[in-house]
Symmetry: C2
Subunit: 394 residues, 2 copies
């Protein structure tokens, strides 16, 4: 089962993306509509101030059934009080009226600036426009993928076809405010497989934990993060294969998000091995992948391996002996290992430079304390991140 | 008692700063030498891989007595194995021989790049040169202040004179890898007061907790952080006044460090009030002051107040009702308050912009949950931080 970064037609689902003028003339309002009610599962942000759509979405998916998803970009509808919740409920109601679907069968999402009121007249008109511009073909799913983008540079999607013919298609957006706590960003996954909502929930939980929960762009956790999985039920599906395919698909979408992180120029894959337990393995991994000084050194391809030592050392609760620590850069035959004993070998340090210049940087940190491992993905920190975020609402 | 950002002669102490060619021709080797043994106290980094000088320094200050401090910049002597420890011990031995002081009465510090061997021949020669270029006058303490700088743009010092005439002088360096966990950066404080080492230890602990432990530049905790307080014992000193003066002096030095943080263009003072307890108050404060999206918005003077909401909300373990949250910007008559109820008031949002354009940005976040408060200082995140750190060793 190979992940392909192309769109594909999935039986039973129509898509759409339109412009309703929330900010400028780019696509800003999109929907996924199933021909009939689907089994559904969703995971949401852990941020304590979730956006209004997250509050409404949690209610609507609680019974494991959904028939549509409606998303606006340009405005996150977060910290907008009772009025914001009302907008999200109305969005579902208005689109439901157009499509003859019960509002509680629709999951709403919003992404964009926080703390600004959303233009309800535009949303109301938008529901009418969107309902008339839905289609099964990939040009429609591409418009959906574009409509949910914020600072993303390109739309993100991937699909996989199982051996039994079941298709899974995922469409995501990311860019900033991304940190590995629970679901992170917007991601919508549809399948023609026949899984029920309990099966979907379990499968999504496992896949998200291995993928979206293991990426970080900037340590900030969005208030709007949502991952939804809809199953139309046309195909008899092998459960084991489905899980493997879903895991791979989510990992691919997660990596796409990190690769297109705000200002990112490189994808970093970090493996922690030899940790004493899973909890500490994840703490070490996060400390390194989130360290601004590690991220800037990778951006500059600077072989400043001491910063990795610092980042492991600032996990105060889990000290390890320095002589245990081995830091590997690169993969395969070109792999270079650095440790305290070899810090005097400047040839070794210089050998890092070309490995750090690659578009994908692989690092493994071996702790020599046990057998637990952890893998996370992140990106470098460039001037571009600052430039994109300094004047975001301006 | 007024803090002055000028150097002052303190009876009993000589200073020096020289160039020994560790990297270029700038001052890179400095010392503080007392005329006789002093009471002393010190606090060090909590990083689990402390630099060799920190390991040696902890031993030497354990008995509460020191007579000298020796510091090199350009190389942190961290992750350099047994050889690194040997260098730090030898530095104390060589300088001790020149000055006729026992090596265990000398506290060593190093700051600069991590994981590179240090040139011992240059250090050995440096001890001879330094021993012959010590003086009491402020031109000597200024040379010391310059010799300990790394990416600092200017030397940092402050003094205070107590009503009873006791003088306290502090000299610090900061710039990057600064995060509020324990002592953060190098800071040397001398006084002619008559406090014993137990009194110094208690006083330093309190002062550091209110100052250096409350600043953050980039969440990365250095392996070399050291704060030392030496007392020559010439003056009979009022203990209460000394504590107040020391707290103020450390706060001033801490703010100087943040103001000159790598790439920093603004000082941010953040107060959390109305927290349920002290622990959560500090967690909220750190979450906001360390958020890259908050820091970039302040850099761009972007009135994106929703990012503060996000940063409070990502303290997952301590949820608070959104309707409780009030965010104040500015001080005095120009203070502006924003909350979920007023997010529609764009005039209010626009009123933030001039407050964010100031060189010192004041923010108070009121949680309405209890009576605990916390105050921290940080800086904005600019392209300059990335530029300074991307090619640090190159």
């Amino acid at each position: 089962m190979k992940i392909s970064r192309e769109l594909i037609l999935v039986k039973g689902f129509r898509f759409g993306g339109v412009n309703i003028g929330l900010k400028d003339e780019s696509l800003d309002f999109g929907g996924i509509v199933a021909n009939s009610p689907c089994s559904a599962a969703a995971l949401f942000t852990k941020n304590n101030f979730p956006g209004a759509p997250v509050i409404v979405g949690r209610e609507h998916v609680a019974d494991g059934k959904l028939q549509a998803i409606v998303v606006n970009s340009k405005n996150a509808n977060v910290a907008t009080g009772v009025a914001g919740i009302e907008v999200s409920r109305n969005t579902c109601r208005w689109l439901g009226e157009e499509l003859n679907i019960s509002p509680v069968m629709i999951l709403p999402s919003s992404t964009g600036v926080i703390g600004r009121p959303i233009d309800t007249t535009k949303i109301r008109t938008g529901c009418k426009i969107l309902a008339n511009q839905l289609g099964e073909e990939v040009e429609y799913s591409e418009r959906f993928a574009k409509a949910i983008m914020t600072t993303d540079h390109h739309p993100k999607f991937a699909h996989v076809v199982l051996e039994d013919g079941t298709k899974i298609l995922g469409i995501a957006k990311g860019a900033g405010m991304v940190e590995p706590h629970m679901a992170t960003m917007l991601s919508y996954i549809v399948t023609d497989g026949d899984l029920n909502s309990n099966e979907l929930r379990a499968a999504l939980h496992q896949a998200v934990n291995e993928s979206f929960n293991r990426i970080s762009i900037d340590t900030d956790t969005s208030t709007s993060d949502t991952v939804v999985l809809l199953s139309a039920g046309y195909k008899k599906t092998d459960r084991k294969d489905f899980q493997i395919a879903l895991n791979d698909l989510c990992c691919d979408l997660a990596k796409q998000i990190v690769q297109d992180g705000e200002g990112a120029t490189k994808l970093i894959e970090l493996k922690i091995s030899g940790a004493q337990d899973d909890k500490s393995a994840l703490l070490y991994a996060k400390s390194v992948i989130n360290s601004p000084l590690v991220k800037t050194a990778i951006y500059g391809s600077d072989p400043n391996w001491g910063r990795f030592v610092m980042a492991i050392g600032k996990v105060f609760d889990f000290p390890i002996p320095l002589e245990n620590l081995k830091i590997y850069f690169g993969k395969g035959a070109r792999r270079v290992c650095l440790d305290a004993e070899h810090s005097e070998d400047l040839t070794l340090v210089e050998a890092l430079r070309p490995l750090l210049q690659a578009k994908e940087v692989f690092i493994e940190i071996e702790l020599g304390m046990g057998t637990s491992t952890e893998r996370v993905w992140g990106c470098d920190l460039s001037e571009g991140y600052v430039a994109e975020n300094a004047y975001y609402t301006t």
